[in-house]
């Protein structure tokens, strides 16, 4: 049963937001895809710091000092490539004394294939929610590899989103069609589902969360939502005969749709549910009409409007999500519900970064450089007594929970685990073929709802079962190979302990730690067992499990 009132009002709120955002500006015919920019990130990083420091000094909160190199390396590797650095990269970076080493590191990490893999993993799970309707159509898709490839080539964000919104062809030739295939009923794309997903993902506004009875909205605004949904009415899913998953556009009425939407209206228009059959035509929010209206062009025209640099919600949403990747929270929260009344900590900064993103032609690597070169990002996570409670002012780097995928890959990196190596060599999609691969199982067990939803996890997400698995499962206790190798190569117990710290925590142990660990090893009968114990301890420590 549909609760019509709630749904309609939610949609009305969205429409109101868009109307406000659009602010009367006209849809352009489509921006030319900008080439990767050669813009200088340094002044932007400085501008970030100015905004953050202005608020800190206003609140009279002292910022923590800059992170040391090891702290920065581990954080940047996790945030950009989704896993801790290898022992080799750590050794190399800690030996580098050049003044530009941090900028160089960021460039190296962005050039690493794992950068694309990391962002593809996050975006794939945000976009594709398996359900009973799409299960068969998305099974075995390769969208994640497609995304990784695009991120690694630094395809601009507007181009990438346009490709998703206008995808057509057989799924196995065009992985990007998976996005539409994920929002189907009986194999046919459902306009309102796609409108809702696209708005959550690409405009940063959510339909489901509004509070019904506080916002009296007019009929007109509901109409606007459905006018937008009407752009998707030509999109078709699987062929009735061949059952091959594909997306195409057709002017013919939708024969298979049981979704209750658009059963009777011609393509390019849609029946508003629970409205006594009112039909509306495709129209951009704010009133702009499509330039011409061949039905096959509907999605193309909508994509041009959506990803246009004059649609400031498009760049704001992308910037806010990217910020959250690095700081654990958005500038506006919740990050997929950036309504005017949402909590926004630094609105001018969001504006500045959104403009920079648009001006760069939606160059994500550029935006990442801007963030990572800022002092704000490079601050230590070590708190000062006077800034303990001021996470949201960015006085120090807040702790971030690793996602299930990041934890799996980081464990694999520290342990040289065959599965992680396989992922490294062959790409994630190949390694996870088969529903029961260790990677898939791990994700299922450690995944936090919020990871795949808002993309921000606030608070500790592991419970007793997860912790038991980390402590007592083979995977985390499979330290023998690494320990044996270290013992073969390194000489003294001090060197072996240092090797373990570099490998697991990406830093050198302090003298006090060396002393304590040496004493532990001396107290054990078998050195191999003692070092295995140490590695177990380091892998189970908060310092390993958190991104800090």
């Amino acid at each position: 049963m549909r609760i019509a009132c709630r749904k309609c009002l939610c949609i009305a709120v969205l429409a109101a937001v868009w109307l406000q955002a659009w602010n009367g500006s006209q849809a352009s015919a489509g921006d030319k895809t900008a080439k990767s920019s050669n813009r200088n990130p340094v002044p932007v990083a400085a501008a970030i710091d100015r905004h953050i420091e202005a608020r800190l000094s206003l609140a009279k909160v002292a910022p923590s000092p800059q992170s040391d190199d090891a702290e920065f390396l581990r954080r940047a590797a996790l945030d950009i490539t989704g896993r801790i650095p290898t022992a080799e990269r750590t050794a190399a970076f800690l030996g580098d004394r050049s003044p530009e080493r941090r900028a160089k590191l960021v460039d190296e990490l962005l050039a690493d294939r794992l950068y694309g893999e990391h962002f593809a993993t996050a975006w794939y799970h945000r976009m594709i929610k398996p359900d009973n309707d799409n299960k068969r159509l998305i099974l075995g898709n390769t969208l994640q590899d497609w995304l990784a490839d695009r991120f690694n080539k630094n395809q601009t964000w507007n181009r990438l989103v346009t490709d998703l919104m206008t995808a057509s062809g057989k799924r196995d030739d065009k992985p990007e069609t998976t996005f539409f295939l994920a929002y189907v009923v009986t194999g046919q794309p459902v306009p309102s589902k796609i409108t809702a997903a696209a708005s959550r993902l690409f405009l940063g506004v959510r339909l489901e969360c509004c509070e019904c009875h506080n916002h009296p909205f007019t009929k007109l605004q509901q109409t606007e939502f459905w006018e937008l949904a009407a752009f998707f009415t030509a999109a078709r899913g699987i062929d009735r005969t061949s059952k091959v998953p594909r997306i195409y556009d057709s002017v013919l009425p939708n024969p298979l749709s049981k979704s209750g939407e658009n059963d009777s209206a011609p393509v390019g228009s849609i029946v508003i549910p629970d409205s006594n059959g009112q039909i509306v035509q495709a129209k951009f929010l704010g009133g702009g009409e499509p330039m011409s209206s061949p039905p096959e062009q509907l999605r193309t025209q909508l994509a041009a409007w959506l990803t246009s640099s004059s649609n400031r919600w498009f760049s704001r949403a992308a910037v806010n999500r990217l910020w959250a990747n690095f700081f654990g929270r958005g500038i506006v929260n919740p990050i997929d519900d950036m309504r005017p009344e949402s909590d926004s900590s630094h609105p001018e900064l969001l504006q500045l970064l959104a403009e920079e993103f648009a001006a760069s032609g939606f160059d994500q690597k550029h935006l990442i450089r801007c963030i990572c070169l800022s002092q704000t990002y490079q601050r230590s996570s070590r708190v000062l007594p006077e800034n303990t409670d001021s996470d949201f002012l960015y006085s120090h780097m807040p702790l971030k929970m690793m996602t299930a995928d990041m934890l799996f890959d980081s464990l694999g990196t520290a342990l040289d685990h065959p599965v992680a190596v396989q992922v490294f060599e062959e790409g994630r999609m190949k390694a996870r073929k088969g529903a029961d691969s260790p990677q898939v199982q791990f994700r299922k067990f450690f995944r936090a709802e919020a990871d795949d939803d808002a993309g921000v996890v606030e608070g500790y997400t592991h419970g007793v079962p997860q912790v038991l698995r980390l402590m007592n499962e083979e995977l985390v206790n499979d330290t023998a190979a690494v320990v044996a190798r270290l013992m073969q190569v390194e000489g003294s117990s001090e060197q072996i302990i240092e090797g373990l710290y570099l490998r697991v925590l990406s830093r050198k142990p302090t003298p006090a730690e060396i002393k304590r660990m040496t004493a532990y090893v001396a107290g054990e009968q078998h050195a191999t067992k003692a070092y295995a114990d140490l590695m177990w301890v380091l892998l189970n420590s908060g310092e390993f499990v958190f991104n800090h």
Binding site: M1, R2, I3, E208, C209, E211, K258, S381, R382, V383, T388, P398, L399, M401, G459, Y460, H462, G463, V464, P465, Q466, V467, L468, R469, M471, N472, E473, E474, N477, R516, Y520, D533, L534, W536, V537, L538, N540, S541, G542, E543, V545, F546, H548
Partner: protein
């Protein structure tokens, strides 16, 4: 009266967790576990407990606990129960035989018709998203108010799927999910089966954590340590054998039906017996938009022996009076057949069933019309239900919990109407 949750007393949550961490850290590993054992010994009378059998997807009330032979869409016949004048659907014969223990609330009338929101509503008594807070679920409230700090076992388990979390009651009261009741909680033994060796390692880990917590002073880091403490404590607990349903005689396993749900009910009984406050056992697939009649029959074949045996088992052990058993879904289903040939979501009128916990059994409360489509008498809202269940469990439902932002929110929302027939 306002009751503050543990993290909102004079000390901030952060300070308290840091303190508790430091306390655990200051003792050597053996002393740490020794202390815990001593605490556990000082026990007292356990308050009431609760088992929630959650019918995930929303069962058709007119095909189960509120049969409507006069409704032409009804394909399932009514049968008599052990209480004259009260009838059930024909696929619940064993529960019909237990009617003397049951209170059947046929006037449930809630207002959330989408699965996720309705589940949240029925688990918390609050609508999802209201006020921007995450409300604690009934299980978390039971853990918070009925659990004792010295308990070895955590106080909130869920089986057969995902329950709802602790919200502002705090992460200590979040559910522990058991994925396979025949395996209990996984990874309870160290990989080398050497518990003293494990203690040495975790002692060293505790030392290391202290430095990290001081460095970042984050509640998340403190929660990491607290969770390791709980897990290690569970590994040491002699009560861990509560998870082994293999210790039950074959006849008992058979009586519960040897289904995943039946095994879950049996494990729930064992956990309650060992002092756990709240167990949720989920039975899925009630979302019968298609093939309603056959779906209901299959699911009843699972539910009926499991729940009936659970009740007789609790009674035989003298635990039924202190253990409330709830059987409900997130809503009912339409009193007519929908587009896809089955029944669709229907929160307007449906049925929940209570047993044990000291309530008056053998009765039906509330009445729907001839077709089962509207409540005529004894309407029970989600708020009424939450408050009533709390009252049965002797949780003061009018008291307030303080959220992380300092806002006091009642355990059950105001304007509640208690189902007085139960008392």
């Amino acid at each position: 009266m306002t009751t503050l949750p543990f993290h909102n007393q004079a000390l901030s949550r952060r300070e308290l967790l840091l303190l508790s961490a430091a306390g655990a850290l200051s003792a050597p590993a053996s002393g740490w576990f020794g202390q815990l054992a001593a605490q556990a010994a000082a026990s007292e009378v356990k308050p009431k407990s609760c088992i929630l059998l959650f019918m995930f997807g929303g069962p058709s009330h007119i095909d189960t606990f509120d049969p409507k032979p006069e409704n032409p869409s009804s394909e399932i016949n009514p049968i008599a129960t052990s209480v004259p004048g009260i009838q059930f659907g024909e696929f619940l014969p064993k529960l019909a035989g237990q009617m003397k223990e049951l209170a059947v609330l046929r006037g449930m009338s809630t207002s959330e018709g989408s699965h996720g929101r309705a589940r949240y509503y029925m688990h918390t008594g609050y609508r999802e998203g209201v006020g921007g807070v995450v409300h604690p679920s009934l299980g978390a409230l039971a853990s918070r108010f009925l659990g004792r700090p010295q308990d070895d076992l955590p106080n909130f388990f869920s089986m057969g799927g995902q329950s709802f979390g602790a919200g502002y009651a705090g992460p200590m009261h979040a559910p522990i999910e058991i994925t396979d009741p025949t395996r209990g909680v996984e990874n309870l033994q160290p990989v080398d089966d050497n518990l003293p060796g494990f203690d040495k390692r975790i002692g060293l880990l505790n030392e290391l954590e202290k430095g990290f917590i001081e460095r970042v002073r984050s509640p998340m880091a403190a929660a990491h340590l607290a969770t390791y403490e709980r897990a290690a404590r569970l590994m040491h607990s002699p009560k861990a054998k509560a998870f082994d349903i293999g210790q039950e005689p074959a006849e008992v396993r058979d009586a519960y039906g040897r289904t995943k749900f039946g095994d879950g009910c049996l494990l729930a009984r064992r956990l309650i017996e060992h002092g756990v406050s709240f167990v949720e056992v989920i039975l899925g697939n009630w979302d019968t938009h298609r093939d309603n009649a056959s779906g209901v029959q299959t699911l009843c074949n699972t539910l009926d022996p499991a729940m009936a045996t659970l009740l007789s088992d609790l009674k035989q052990r003298g635990m039924l009076d202190t253990t409330l058993v709830i059987c409900m879904g997130e809503f009912g289903r339409t009193p007519y057949v929908g587009k896809q040939g089955g029944r669709d979501h229907y929160p307007k009128a449906w049925t929940s069933v209570l047993a044990g916990g000291g309530i008056q059994g053998g009765q039906v409360v509330g009445r729907t019309d001839k077709k089962g489509g509207a409540v005529e008498e004894g309407r029970v809202s989600a708020v009424d239900f939450m408050a009533t269940v709390c009252k049965v469990l002797e949780i003061d439902y009018k008291q307030e919990l303080v959220t992380n932002t300092g806002r006091p929110i009642r355990v059950a929302d105001k304007d509640e109407k208690i189902v007085s027939e139960l008392f």
